[in-house]
Point group: C2
Chain length 402, copies 2
């Protein structure tokens, strides 16, 4: 029997306890032995809870107990989670976490600590909730040359964009409704400004590079500027609009971005709707593979934490390689990666747009929008796009095309 | 350095050599050592081929060479592949294969042989081509109570159905075109009658049950009876038509079937088109997760074989559990699993249909079809459906609803 602890008895932490309770025999078979939850760290008491006797308030009770072999950190945030994880790893206790902020900020240091102390640091639940993407990248796909990862990584924004598209409502209206339903936070910036997707993109980019990509280096645009006019144009030429985290690799390095994109309806990401997440991985031999599922939610996220916990138990005393280290991956200046861009300007600026972007543009019309000149550019780099776009000072917005 | 052999230098076998060549450094990093291709077994010579020096014609050269640790069997068919695999495993050489016929027919025996001889028998490439589904079921999702697996498992039939839907062509026309393009075999029965999907469903059902489901026990219907009228009705009430392999589990046992289904357009499988495959797994904690990719094709399938090869190298000297044994899973009489069925009869048989299926039916119309009475039944069992359906001796066909 192996004894484990949970740090933080909130949504995900209580979900981990629930998975261990509900699926105890499956967990035991998978781990090769019974898994027993010995402690739950939380500042609060939980009178009447099935696990109230396991609740402790002092991290040192857990850290000083040599019986505890694996710790599930489900508190979130940087501190005190970072200090707790470091202390655990230094004592040779493996750590599994759903804490994307912490993994994105300090992943390489924690992985290195785990390596030195012959234990593991796993974080499957930090990207895509229950979708088993990180283990797959580190096992089944590790021999592929991965040159692109493209994902819908945030359920809240995908829900908002789906509603805007299907119901024709404006951003503010849909956000308010999402907040009322509990799909969006009262302080929604982490989702709608793309910060959450950015953390997950940074983690994927780090694993793809085998090095480290800091979330601060990733250009990030949210969905707050998307309008019904954008959806009208998108529908008129067979596109969906999705917030994507994108990583591409070529001989010059990595290109990373988080931004809303127009996606052709026949692309598998275009039909990923509501709160679902999906990640497309392109390998040189495999082609495109997509992984789809619940990107958040108590049980799904907790299930991914428990999957990691089991892996730690199976590999007790050794380190599971997660292909991330402290060396910074070389992010390319964006000149070697190109997109097409969709741009809207007032009708009277059509000539200015042609002058800025050249004759190669494709004019786009929508029956539902008047008084505008909308177009799609040739393939151009971020740098060239922004140089041209800033000449159009009355421009009404732009979107990249996948 | 580890030495390996390929049995059968056809499409998949030459793909395996290509993956080992093209991604040699990624393979070495993943396996922890260099992987060297020492032999290729084939009856033919390959003058001018990069690997012509490695080609041998006698299996015993490979079996008797103690340097060979892993064998990739990419010949297909039952014999001589079965004898070759058994001999290899009995000598403690791990075997990786894409051979779905053999795995479906003799998987448990081969897994047991591998266990006894402290080596592994892996067959990721036998289901879903390059889609990493089997390893995921046996690792990341092993602690889930999986109660349903539903997949589009055959690219040829999915291509035909996609073409029929999008282009309005009849089955025979599209089949002929698919044959000309090389997407369908000249003898297409294995695909269009559902036999190929049935083998893959049997393998998935075996892994899901942890026991053995024989492909001969799975009720299998192909796509040859699907007409343009079916697609007209499907479109009129928001459905796609897909050939599905389905496994469901409840307290009475397992229900398995391979048959064309109508699927709501908002279901993630509905937008899996052309030659792509996808598999939806439902776990009690995880909910639905979908895995999507190329279900066939030289490089993608070969990449899955190489993924298994690497796993065998990493676990040399020990057995990788694949959760399949010789005990037959209990397949339920179908009374405890229910679907809705879509049925078409001549207009004049509307009363007979009402009498056979009761008042609970939902009448379906299509602007494009005249002279028929089409309807969807209540949820009923296979048994009750067939009892009622056989009373309608002029019925024009039926489809299950997902």
């Amino acid at each position: 029997m192996v004894k484990v602890a949970i740090l933080g008895y909130g949504t995900v932490g209580s979900g981990v306890a629930q998975v261990l309770d509900t699926n105890s025999s499956e967990v035991a078979i998978s781990a090769g032995q019974e898994v027993s939850l010995k402690y739950i760290l939380d500042l609060r008491e939980f009178p009447g809870d099935r696990h109230e006797q396991q609740v402790v308030h002092d991290i040192n009770v857990i850290l000083d107990d040599p019986e505890i072999q694996v710790i599930c950190e489900t508190m979130g945030g940087i501190e005190p989670a970072f200090s707790f994880e470091k202390s655990a790893l230094m004592k040779g206790k493996s750590v599994c976490t759903s804490n994307k902020e912490l993994v994105a900020a300090h992943g390489p240091e924690l992985v290195e600590l785990a390596k030195v102390h012959h234990c593991s640091y796993l974080f499957e639940a930090s990207v895509g909730g229950g979708i088993p993407i990180l283990r797959t990248l580190n096992t089944s796909l590790k021999h592929e040359k991965i040159d692109a990862i493209t994902g819908i990584l945030n359920g809240t924004t995908n829900y908002i964009l789906t509603k805007m598209d299907k119901e024709g409502a404006g951003f503010a209206t849909v956000l308010k409704e999402a907040q009322e339903k509990g799909y969006a936070e009262r302080k929604p910036e982490a989702d709608i400004e793309g910060y959450d997707a950015c953390r997950k993109t940074a983690i994927l980019a780090s694993l793809m590079s085998g090095q480290y990509v800091s979330f601060e280096e990733i250009e990030t645009e949210g969905i707050t500027k998307i309008t019904q006019e954008d959806f009208s144009y998108a529908r008129s030429f067979g596109m969906a609009i999705k917030l994507l985290g994108m990583i591409r690799k070529n001989e010059n390095g990595f290109f990373t971005i988080v931004a809303p994109f127009m996606i052709p309806l026949e692309h598998p990401l275009a039909s990923v709707n509501k709160v679902f997440n999906a990640i497309v991985v392109h390998g040189n031999m495999l082609g495109n593979t997509m992984f789809y599922g619940k990107g958040a939610g108590k049980e799904a996220t907790a299930s991914a934490v428990v999957g990691d916990l089991i892996d730690c138990v199976i590999h007790a005393g050794s380190h599971i390689d997660v292909n991330m280290n402290a060396e910074h991956a070389r992010l390319s200046d964006n000149g070697s990666f190109v997109h097409r861009f969709f741009v809207r300007v007032p009708e009277e600026d059509a000539d200015a747009a042609l002058e800025a972007f050249g004759d190669g543009i494709e004019h786009i019309t929508s029956d539902e929008v008047a008084g505008e000149f909308a177009f799609v550019t040739d393939l151009i780099s971020e740098k060239h796009f922004h140089e041209a776009y800033q000449k159009l000072d009355r421009a009404k917005g732009y979107l990249r095309l996948l």
